[in-house]
């Protein structure tokens, strides 16, 4: 059986001290290694923060409504995901807008954090 683990947390308002970042990263690396070794990990990524989010909806008349930020309605719940690889946000907006989910609710676009760059 496959499961999706969704990781929620409060976003820090300030950059934490370096040692705190390092301690936290060490935890994440240890977890990542453990889940890989166990053969349970299919995929996993960190996302850029919510200020980088863009939300797309498509109205009944086909008009595309793009908004800055993660603006799901409170009654909307996460229903699925696609991980895509396109050159830039416009490419992501195209796929988000043509996704049926944009018609029935909203599609939030979040850039995946590229680690080790």
């Amino acid at each position: 059986m496959r499961y999706l683990l969704l990781i929620y947390s409060e976003e820090p308002t300030q950059t934490p001290p370096q040692e705190q970042i390092e301690a936290s990263m060490a935890e994440w690396w240890a977890y990542d290694e453990a889940i890989r070794k166990a053969g349970a990990r299919l995929a996993g990524d960190a996302l850029q923060g919510s200020p980088t989010a863009t939300t797309v909806r498509v109205k009944d008349d086909g008009e595309r409504v793009v908004t800055d930020g993660p603006f799901a309605e409170t009654r909307e719940v996460l229903g699925g995901y696609y991980l895509i690889d396109v050159p830039d946000l416009d490419g992501a907006l195209e796929w988000a807008a043509s996704c049926p989910g944009a018609k029935y609710g909203s599609v939030e676009i979040r850039p995946v954090m590229e680690l080790g760059m």
Partner: protein, 431 residues
């Protein structure tokens, strides 16, 4: 004296060339912050050197070369930017290969970069406030402090807004390019909307002591001129420029000597700027020709009818109503309904206008809009319904933003209250 002249010309070049300079640097460097830093450095160097060495023959090219050298210096120092240095070299070589006369390219050959910058700054994935701030800062060349002053927010707030917006551009990979012909019709309205927002904020400041913010109006018109030069075939760009010129032409007459609001009906039309009106009228014709007119062209045509009339009474109100009728189908909005109602009142009388205003109010969106209440007050007064007029002016006062508008509404309220009690007094003995 010589140095004073040189500094003046630095500032003139700065205002004129900043957008071009920055747009090209962003393309070369792929990094707003670095582009901004080296552009500012180049300007600082110019302020130092030009008074001594004289202003170079091609100031823009000089600034670009200086900024580019500075970028290369910085990139060499910052190891993490090594990859970007390679990009810089490739871009510089490509620019040379594309037939520009080797770096620095001719300023004329780099004009198009500003169009990229417009579309990046006005990208729909950015919030409206961020789009406006980015456009005024990076295409207009206002400093962060000036942008903050223009929109009446603290400088730190504006600085944060810009930092967040640039971060989103960078981290979400908002592209830096001009949309292709297929996308352009979808993307251009956002750019025009941002320029028009800058203008409308200037026309009736949402807050503060002044009614008209001339600096912002000039800026919006300047930005529209740039867009018009870059996209001469786009009729709505011509329409927007025309609209702003035709409204701005009345700027001097819109306030009295003490800064108070003067209504269209009471303005000294001799003080309207005929040069702006002429330019606007020429552009309107262009904007209206060759297809279904857009919303800016229609609004400009309405503004032109006002500008051409010698008085409010001799204004071609039936034609204005007809244009609003078309505008309602092209770009329906409660604001259009409000303005149409006022025009209908001029043609068919205050009762007809009032009925339409009540419809517009019932639609809900303008409930707290002071100009709706103010227009209701005026029509109710004309109908002799002074008590209701006073209520309408009170509602307008509760929602009005800038001081001259508030002062005006206060006067109207007092008048309605006086007329109301006079009417009561006159009626009482008869009852």
């Amino acid at each position: 004296m010589a140095s004073g002249r040189a500094v003046d010309s630095v500032e003139a070049v700065f205002r004129e060339e900043w957008g071009r300079l920055l747009a090209t640097l962003v393309r070369w460097l792929g990094d707003f912050d670095l582009a901004e830093e080296v552009a500012a450095d180049a300007l600082a160097t110019a302020i130092e050197r030009w008074p001594v060495d004289g202003v170079p023959d091609r100031p823009a090219a000089w600034l670009l070369t200086t900024a580019r050298r500075r970028a290369v210096d910085l990139l060499r120092r910052r190891q993490t930017y090594a990859a970007k240095l390679a990009v810089l070299r490739v871009e510089a070589e490509r620019a040379a290969a594309e037939g520009n006369s080797a770096p620095p390219p001719q300023p004329d050959a780099i004009g198009d970069d500003r169009l990229r910058l417009f579309f990046t700054c006005c990208h729909p994935a950015l919030g409206s406030e961020a789009q406006v701030a980015l456009t005024v800062r990076y295409l207009g060349g206002l400093s962060t402090a000036e942008v903050a002053r223009a929109f009446l927010v603290p400088e730190t707030t504006m600085a944060q807004r810009l930092v967040r917006a640039k971060r989103k551009i960078r981290e979400a990979h908002i592209p830096y390019r001009v949309p292709d012909a297929v996308e352009l019709p979808n993307r251009l309205p956002a750019v025009l909307r941002v320029v028009y927002l800058i203008f409308t904020e200037s026309y009736a400041a949402s807050r503060g002591p002044e009614l008209v913010r001339g600096d912002l109006a000039d800026e919006a018109i300047r930005l529209a001129r740039i867009l018009f030069r870059l996209l001469p075939e786009e009729r709505e760009v011509a329409g927007l420029l025309a609209l702003m010129l035709l409204i701005d032409a009345r700027r001097a007459a819109r306030t009295d000597s003490s800064g108070g609001l003067v209504l269209l009906a009471d303005q000294d039309r001799g003080r309207w700027d005929q040069a702006e009106i002429e330019e606007g009228r020429t552009l309107v014709v262009q904007a209206l020709s060759g297809g279904r007119p857009g919303q800016y062209a229609l609004q400009a045509a309405i503004a032109a009818l006002h500008d051409e009339a010698a008085t409010v009474e001799t204004t071609d109100w039936p034609q204005i109503v007809a244009l609003y009728n078309v505008l309602r189908t092209v770009a329906p909005s409660p604001l259009v309904d409000l303005n149409r109602a006022v025009a209908v009142a001029m043609v068919d009388g205050p009762a007809a206008g009032l009925a339409l205003l009540e419809d517009a109010a019932a639609a809900g969106e303008l409930v707290n809009y002071h100009l709706l209440s103010s227009a209701r007050g005026a029509l109710l007064e004309q109908l002799g319904r002074h008590v209701e007029a006073a209520d309408a002016y009170r509602a307008a006062l509760n929602a009005a933003g800038n001081q001259p508008e508030r002062d005006f509404l206060r006067q109207r309220l007092d008048r309605a209250v006086r007329s109301g009690s006079a009417a009561d007094g006159a009626q009482r003995p008869g009852r």
